[in-house]
Amino acid sequence: MTTQSAPVGAAAAAVRTRRTDPAGRTGRRRPRQVRLLFLLPAAIFLGLLSLFPLIQLLRMSVSAVTSATLNQSWDFVGFENFAEGFATGQSTEALQRTLVFVLVVTVLGMVLGLAAAIALRSRGRWSGFLLALMVFVWALPPVVNGSVWKFLLGDAGLINTLLLDSGLRDAPVPFLYDQYWALMSVAFVNSFAVIPFNALVFRAALMNIPPETFEAAALDGANRWQEVRHIMLPAVRPTTLVLLVLTLVYGFRSFDFIYVMTYGGPGTATNTLPFLGYLQAFVRYDFGLGAATSVVTVVGVLVLAVVYARSIRREEAES
């Protein structure tokens, strides 16, 4: 109790001080109220569009919900949906594929994003043009992006045509219709879509390095690789952590490219957790089962979100 009374007392004193401040107006308390007022729309927005659906999702995951009962009351079934998903092996297999998928997306997205940022660090017409192009790619709707890539990776697509015409391959690469190639291909296309964003964020971090640092390194005889290794990488370390978590989350919740490019196939070869949840809820109309799969995905994303929040806080504290 005593530990609480001190701050409370201090706050009360502060309020009293404000009230007795000759320059103070009664409106001194308004800024806080106004701030709350301004926060209200965002709070309502988040509550309606994020919190409420999340609560509904949790409710649905422990209920028996089909197309016939979706608009009625839901029967509580406990963890039956979760057990069913793992008992059939579908959730376990999808989880394994998701982890492989996330690994590929994260590694490619981070490494190529940083490489692009280093390459585009200078200010110039070409780097500006390439940056604009990357923003364009990043802003493309996934359905459009995925359709273009599906076309490019087809047997008669540009990439296979080049490989065949150059003599590098005798037969087309089965990018989207071999079980292993298909997972790697959709993961690669997901990486391709996240590279521009990562490159822009990395570039912003690189632009904060004072030019004098590079001048000093040049005087010391540092080569390009040493500049990257000893100046750029340490400078982008805090950004890397934040971006790493964001890319992991992006990979974990990826759905659109799989939907457009393979529809989870061949067979179930590209059924990751988000796509499995879609199939269960919106193709089989077992909304309870689909919600349970989605909750598993959400838990994964939430863990990463906590890591993200902590890394942001640490970075702010350090800066």
């Binding site: 016939a68 608009n71 989207l176 079980q179 529809y263 989870g264 067979g267 919106f282 193709v283 077992d286």
Partner: protein, 434 residues
Amino acid sequence: MFTTRSARQRRRALALTSIAAAGALTLAACGSSGEEAGAGSSDDGDAADGELSGTVTVWHYFSEDNQVGLMDAYAEKFESEHEGVTVENVFVPYDQMNSKLVSSAGAQTGPDVVVFNGAEAATIALGGALAPMDDYWADYADAGEFPDSVIHQIDGTTYAVQGYVNLLGLWYNAEILEEIGVEPPTTLDELEDAMAAAAEAGHDGITLSGLPQSQGEWQAYPWLSAEGFTYEEPDAGALEAGLARVRGWVENGWLSQEAVTWDQTVPFQQFTSGGVAFAENGNWQMGAAEADAGFEYGVVPLPLGDDGQVYLGGEGQGIGAFSENPDLAWEYLASTYYSPEGQVMAVEQVGSIPARADAAGDDAVSSNPLLEPFAASIEQYGANYPAPNIPPAAVADVQLTVGQAWSAVLGGQQQAGAAAQATVATLEGLLAPQ
């Protein structure tokens, strides 16, 4: 029960449809049926013409030019017949149609008219998105022209009726067949010999869809049933034989493994671009064939032997459960999809086979040689879609399960034997006991 009618009754009804269609084709020269078709009245809705006004919102999933053109023609027809009425056709992607309908029903809203995959009537009706049509149908003077097989009922309540029937046939490139010196096949062995000869001559054998969902299942079922597989008595051995046969086509280079990424539109585009001997595809592709194929082509029934079956599919048309003007919605259906004129328009623009017995005798049907093999398929192989013994709530699950197995085997993810065992084990839990 999905319908109140027994499977035997439904088959009889289907046979009647096919006989009507086939009969109409053979009686083309007489031309007497055309008059009857024209005499069919469709103005039996609850509301009189002069009282109707407002907007009819129609949800559909058509993206092909000829199908969209038919929707536009229907809108134009209905608007010209009813002054002050507007028809608004709204495209909803196929994969989103059912979920969008069910979620709209939850919000107590939705379209006036729904044009959907007839096989999914149960899913949509159970989701509360379709209004019962019993009263309208009971008062409809022309209801007797429709066979039972195109009327979608759940627990005795009518929720939708199909204005036409769509089914699969075997399209062939006549120029390639002439080059390799073979006739259009009538047996599976002849088909495989022809594909082998086509491949030897540098052509592809066949195109079809191997997508892991309902479209894949729809295309797989004829080949699986040809080996004796049915949903009434799912047998792992028969399923394995069917899957292994088509996987063999991939391994022999007659069918591209890329088929696992194709919906039903893409393989027909591959066929019309030339260089492919055969395509397993539907009667609705006639417009696309005429527009895109730069070669002589034809159609024969899929060569499926004694046991083979071909689904009689097509779109169901129903009234939205939360339509603000169900009378107007009914009038739209009666004037377009269900009227003899509207069904003939579907024949001319899309190549669909009319559900009405009188419309099946129209000259547009009987004078079209491409429709004859489809009519013959109805008679020889026609099967209810979905199979009557599949419980309504399990239809989507069954289609996905078999579609995924089909895709997994064609794509080499699973061996035919393993896929068949796993699929039959899943189906046993989903199918109603006999």
